[in-house]
C-alpha cells in the first residue's frame, strides 16, 4: 500500500483532512474510491473508539402512540429504543451467526428439542438488581403466554416448558428446532427484571444506556449506563434520538449538522445525498423485500398458469432500477436471498412476455386482473404497480390498478384481498421467514399457500443439524414457492442510511437498518 495514501488516511482519522479531499487525493494517486474508503475506515478504526460526547440520531418510523413496553414495539424507533436500555440473550452477528449478549453460551440436546442457555454473571439492571436466570424465565413467560400481546408471541409457540436452574435457563420444545437461538435475538425479547411483569413500560434493563427523557414519537434522551458490562458497546456519553418522519426534513437535519445519522434515505435522493459535503450514504443489502402477493386459493389466482403468467410478466431489473434506483437486488419469487445462512441460488426467472402470454392463454382467464396498492405498502408501490401494468400489457395481460388509502391498508387490504402490493422485513433464518408466512398454518400466510410437501420439508429442515442437508432442503422449498407459490418477489431492498463525518465506526451488520439499530452505540463522535 502506498505510504502517502496511508499517511493521508491517518490525517483524516485525526480530523486534519476531510474525507472528500482525501478521496480526491487518492484518486490522483491512482486508487479506486472503494480501496480508498476501505483504507480510510481501517485508519479510523485503528485510531480506536473515542468515549464521550453526544450522538444524535434522526429516525423515520415512530409515533406518539408508541409504548415503552418492549413487547409492543412495532417500528424502527421503538426497536432502537429497546436496544438502548435493554438486551436480548443473543444478537445477530455481522457474519450471519450469533453473538452472545446476556447469554454466555448455549447448547442443544442432540435432537434439538432442549436448549440450555448460560446466563452472564455479574450483570446488573439499571435499578441495581442483579440479573438472574429467573428474570430471563419471567421475561420469556410474559412474551410466550397465550394471553400475551407481544409481537414475539408467534415465534415462541413451540415452547412446551421453560425453567431456570442456577445460572442456566432451559427451554424445552415440543418439536425440534435447530434455529431456536436465532428466534431469541428478536427485538421484543429484552430481558427485564421479573420479566417486566410488574411494570412492562419501566424501561429498566441491562442495556448500555438508561433513558433520561422520553417523549413518544418526538424525542428520546439516554445517558450511558455507568455499570454496563461490555466496553465495546456504547461509546458516546449520551444519545439523542429525534423522530423525523418527513423525508426531506430528515435529510435537511443531517445536512445542516443537527443530527449525525438518519435511517431510510429515500432511494430517489440517495445519490444526491451522497454528494453532500461531510455525509456518507451506506446502502446495505437486506433480507427485506417488496412483493406482489396473490391468494393461491382464490379464483383466478388458484390457477397455476395464471400465477406463472404474472410472474413471467414482471420486469425485475426495471423495478430495481426505477423503484429502488439501484439500491437493491432482483428477487426470484421466493422470500429468501443471499443474506440467509443456508442460501443456494435457484435458476433466475426473468421477464419473458412470450412465456407470460403462453401461460396466460393456458390459464383460460379472460378479462382484467385487479391489483390493489397504496403508498404505504412499500415506498413507490403505486409506481411499481404501473410499471407492472406496462410490462404485463406487453404480454397481453390487462391489469387494473386500484389505489387504496394508506390508512387501514394493513387491516382491510393486505391478507384480505386476493392480489395486492406489500412488503416484508427479513427474518434471521429461512425457518423463521417460511414459518411466519408460508407454512399452511401460519397466521400471516398472505399468499394462502397450502403445500403439504413444503410443510413436511420445513419441519424436517428445522430438526436437521447437518448444514449441507439443510441447504439442500431449503433449496427444494425455495423451488416449490418459486413454482407453485402466490408470491411475486421482484426486488430486495437495501437499507439506505446516511451518517455524518463527525461520527466514525460504521461496520457491517445483519438484521435491520443503521447497523441493526446498534449504530448509535457502536459508532462514536470524532470531534
Amino acid at each position: 500500500m502506498n505510504d502517502e495514501l496511508k499517511y493521508l488516511s491517518q490525517q483524516v482519522a485525526r480530523k486534519r483532512l476531510d474525507r472528500r479531499s482525501f478521496l480526491g487525493r487518492a484518486g490522483a494517486l491512482g486508487f479506486s474510491a472503494a480501496t480508498a474508503n476501505t483504507l480510510l475506515s481501517s485508519a479510523v478504526m485503528a485510531q480506536g473508539a473515542i468515549k464521550g460526547g453526544t450522538i444524535k440520531v434522526a429516525m423515520q418510523g415512530g409515533a406518539s402512540t408508541d409504548s415503552l413496553d418492549p413487547a409492543l414495539a412495532a417500528n424502527s424507533t421503538a426497536a432502537m429504543v429497546n436496544r438502548l436500555w435493554g438486551e436480548p440473550l443473543v444478537e445477530l452477528a455481522p457474519d450471519g451467526g450469533l453473538e452472545m449478549r446476556l447469554a454466555t453460551e448455549f447448547e442443544a440436546s442432540a435432537d434439538a428439542t432442549t436448549w440450555t442457555f448460560k446466563i452472564r454473571n455479574g450483570v446488573t439492571f439499571s435499578n441495581g438488581q442483579t440479573l438472574t436466570a429467573e428474570d430471563v424465565l419471567a421475561t420469556l413467560e410474559r412474551h410466550a403466554n397465550e394471553d400475551s400481546t407481544s409481537g414475539a408471541l408467534g415465534l415462541l409457540t413451540s415452547i412446551s416448558a421453560m425453567r431456570a436452574e442456577g445460572d442456566a435457563f432451559i427451554i424445552e420444545l415440543d418439536s425440534p428446532n435447530a434455529d431456536l437461538p436465532f428466534l431469541l435475538s428478536d427485538y421484543h425479547l429484552m430481558i427485564q427484571p421479573n420479566g417486566g411483569k410488574d411494570d412492562p413500560t419501566a424501561a429498566i434493563g441491562t442495556g448500555p444506556y438508561v433513558l433520561q427523557s422520553v417523549e413518544m414519537g418526538v424525542r428520546f434522551v439516554a445517558e450511558k449506563n455507568p455499570n454496563y458490562w461490555d466496553p465495546d458497546l456504547g461509546h458516546a456519553a449520551s444519545i439523542e434520538m429525534t423522530v423525523i418522519n418527513d423525508d426531506t426534513a430528515r435529510v435537511a437535519a443531517l445536512q445542516s449538522g443537527q443530527v449525525h445519522m438518519v435511517n431510510r434515505v429515500p432511494p430517489k435522493v440517495a445519490s444526491l445525498v451522497s454528494r453532500m459535503a461531510g455525509v456518507e450514504v451506506h446502502s446495505v443489502p437486506s433480507a427485506g423485500h417488496y412483493v406482489f402477493i396473490m391468494h393461491a386459493n382464490t379464483a383466478p389466482y388458484d390457477n397455476k398458469d395464471l400465477r406463472l403468467a404474472l410472474k413471467y410478466a414482471m420486469n425485475r431489473e426495471e423495478m430495481v432500477e426505477k423503484i429502488l434506483f439501484g439500491n437493491g437486488s432482483i428477487g426470484n419469487d421466493t422470500p429468501i436471498n443471499a443474506s440467509y445462512p443456508f442460501f443456494s441460488e435457484l435458476e433466475q426467472r426473468s421477464y419473458d412476455p412470450d412465456k407470460a402470454a403462453f401461460h396466460y392463454n393456458a390459464s383460460g382467464h379472460d378479462g382484467s386482473i385487479l391489483l390493489r396498492t397504496s403508498d404505504n405498502s412499500f415506498p413507490g408501490a403505486p409506481d411499481a404497480a404501473q410499471l407492472f401494468q406496462q410490462s404485463a400489457a406487453a404480454a397481453g395481460i390487462t391489469l387494473d390498478i386500484s389505489r387504496e388509502p394508506s390508512d387501514g391498508y394493513w387491516s382491510e387490504v393486505w391478507n384480505n384481498q386476493p392480489f395486492c402490493t406489500s412488503y416484508w422485513g427479513g427474518r434471521a433464518t429461512q425457518d423463521a421467514m417460511y414459518s411466519t408466512a408460508y407454512l399452511s398454518t401460519a397466521d400471516w400466510n398472505d399468499t394462502r399457500f397450502f403445500n403439504e410437501q413444503f410443510d413436511q420439508l420445513l419441519f424436517a429442515a428445522r430438526a436437521e443439524l447437518d448444514a449441507a442437508n439443510r441447504t439442500q432442503m431449503y433449496a427444494d422449498m425455495g423451488m416449490i414457492v418459486h413454482e407453485e407459490g402466490g408470491l411475486i418477489c421482484p426486488m430486495f431492498n437495501n437499507f439506505i442510511d446516511a451518517v455524518s463525518d463527525d461520527v466514525a465506526g460504521w461496520g457491517p451488520s445483519k438484521g435491520f437498518e443503521l447497523m441493526n439499530f446498534y449504530g448509535p452505540m457502536k459508532m462514536w463522535v470524532t470531534s
Binding site: 409504548s67 400481546t149 417523549e215 423525523i244 435537511a252 445542516s256 449538522g257 390508512d407 400471516w444
Partner: protein
C-alpha cells in the same frame, strides 16, 4: 349593556351545545373508519390470538354506545381517560402538546397580526400606488404557495445554506426559553407568511369601506394628516370585520398547522391527533377534537363579543 350580556350568554350556551354535537360526530366518525385500535396497534404483525387478547384488554368488546357514555361521564368529571395505545394519561399528554401548540401559535400571532394590520394601513394610505400593489402582490403570492413549499424553502435557505436557524424545531420540557424561541422561528415565519394575506386584505378592504364615509371627508377637509385619519378615525370603525378575520386566522394557527408541524418536527397537537387517528385511539381523538372545537368556538365567541363592544349601537341600546 344588557342586550350585549344576553347576546354573550346566548353564544356561550350555544357553544357548549356545539361541543356536544362535535363529540358525537367525532365518535361516530372514528367508528366508521375501517379497522380498530387493536388492529392498528399490532399492524402487519397482528395475529388472531394477539388481536383477541388486545381487544379484551382494551375493553373494545363493549358496545360503542356504552363506551361513548362511559367516556362522557369521565369528561363530566374532568377525566379525559387514558390513551388506548400507550396507556398514558390523555390530559397529561394533551397538556404538554397543547402548550407547545399555543406557544408556536402565539409567536406566529405576535409576528403576523401587527404586521398584517400595519401592511393593511400602509396599503390604504398608498391605495392603488406601488406600495399597495407590492404588498398585495407579495402577500398573495405567499398565500398561493403551499405551506410545505414555503417551509422547505426556508429550511433550505436559513437552515441549510445560511445555518442561522435550526431546521428541526423539536422543543422539549426544560428547554431554555431563548433556545425555544430560536427553534420556532422558521415554523412561525412559515405560518406568518401563510396567514398574512388574508388579514392584510381584510384590513385594507374594511378600512377602504369606511374611508368612503362623510366624516372621513370632513377630517380630510380639516387638513388632518392622511395616516392620522386612517389610524384614529377609520380603523376603530373597521374593527369588527378585522377582528373576525384575525380570530379566524388565530384559530387556524392553533388547529390547522399539522403540515408545518411535520416539516419542522414540532411536537404540537396536530401530529399527535393524526398519529392517534391512524391508530383509532378513540379517547385521544375525542379529547383532541373537543379541545380544537373549544378553541374554535371560543375564538369566534371573542370575535363576536369584540364586535358587539365595538359597535355603539349594540353597546348603548335604547
Amino acid at each position: 349593556m344588557s342586550l350585549a350580556l344576553k347576546l354573550i350568554a346566548q353564544r356561550i350556551s350555544l357553544g357548549i351545545l356545539m361541543l356536544f354535537a362535535v363529540s358525537i360526530l367525532i365518535f361516530v366518525g372514528t367508528q366508521i373508519l375501517p379497522g380498530d385500535v387493536a388492529q392498528s396497534i399490532l399492524g402487519q404483525s397482528a395475529t388472531p390470538e394477539s388481536l383477541a387478547n388486545l381487544r379484551a384488554e382494551l375493553g373494545l368488546n363493549e358496545p360503542a354506545i356504552t363506551r361513548y357514555f362511559a367516556w362522557l361521564a369521565g369528561i363530566a368529571t374532568g377525566d379525559l381517560g387514558t390513551a388506548l395505545t400507550s396507556g398514558q394519561s390523555v390530559s397529561e399528554a394533551i397538556g404538554l402538546r397543547l402548550g407547545n401548540t399555543l406557544f408556536l401559535a402565539t409567536v406566529a400571532a405576535v409576528m403576523s397580526v401587527p404586521t398584517a394590520i400595519l401592511l393593511g394601513l400602509i396599503a390604504v394610505r398608498f391605495k392603488n400606488r406601488w406600495p399597495d400593489k407590492m404588498i398585495s402582490g407579495a402577500t398573495l403570492a405567499c398565500i398561493s404557495l403551499p405551506e410545505f413549499f414555503i417551509g422547505y424553502l426556508l429550511i433550505l435557505v436559513f437552515g441549510v445554506k445560511l445555518g442561522w436557524f435550526p431546521t428541526v424545531a423539536t422543543v422539549y420540557e426544560g428547554m431554555p426559553f431563548g433556545d425555544r424561541l430560536q427553534a420556532v422561528v422558521l415554523p412561525a415565519v412559515t405560518l406568518t407568511l401563510v396567514v398574512l394575506a388574508h388579514m392584510m386584505r381584510m384590513t385594507r378592504a374594511a378600512i377602504l369601506n369606511v374611508m368612503q364615509s362623510a366624516y372621513i371627508e370632513t377630517a380630510e377637509l380639516k387638513g388632518l394628516a392622511a395616516f392620522k385619519i386612517i389610524w384614529k378615525h377609520a380603523l376603530p370603525n373597521a374593527v369588527s370585520p378585522v377582528v373576525n378575520v384575525v380570530m379566524l386566522n388565530l384559530a387556524y394557527l392553533i388547529v390547522g398547522v399539522v403540515v408545518v408541524e411535520v416539516i419542522f418536527v414540532y411536537p404540537g397537537m396536530g401530529q399527535y391527533l393524526v398519529d392517534h387517528v391512524a391508530k383509532r385511539d378513540v379517547p385521544v381523538v375525542q379529547a383532541c377534537g373537543l379541545v380544537f372545537a373549544a378553541i374554535y368556538i371560543g375564538l369566534n365567541l371573542v370575535a363576536d363579543i369584540v364586535s358587539v363592544l365595538s359597535n355603539p349601537r349594540l353597546r348603548h341600546p335604547k
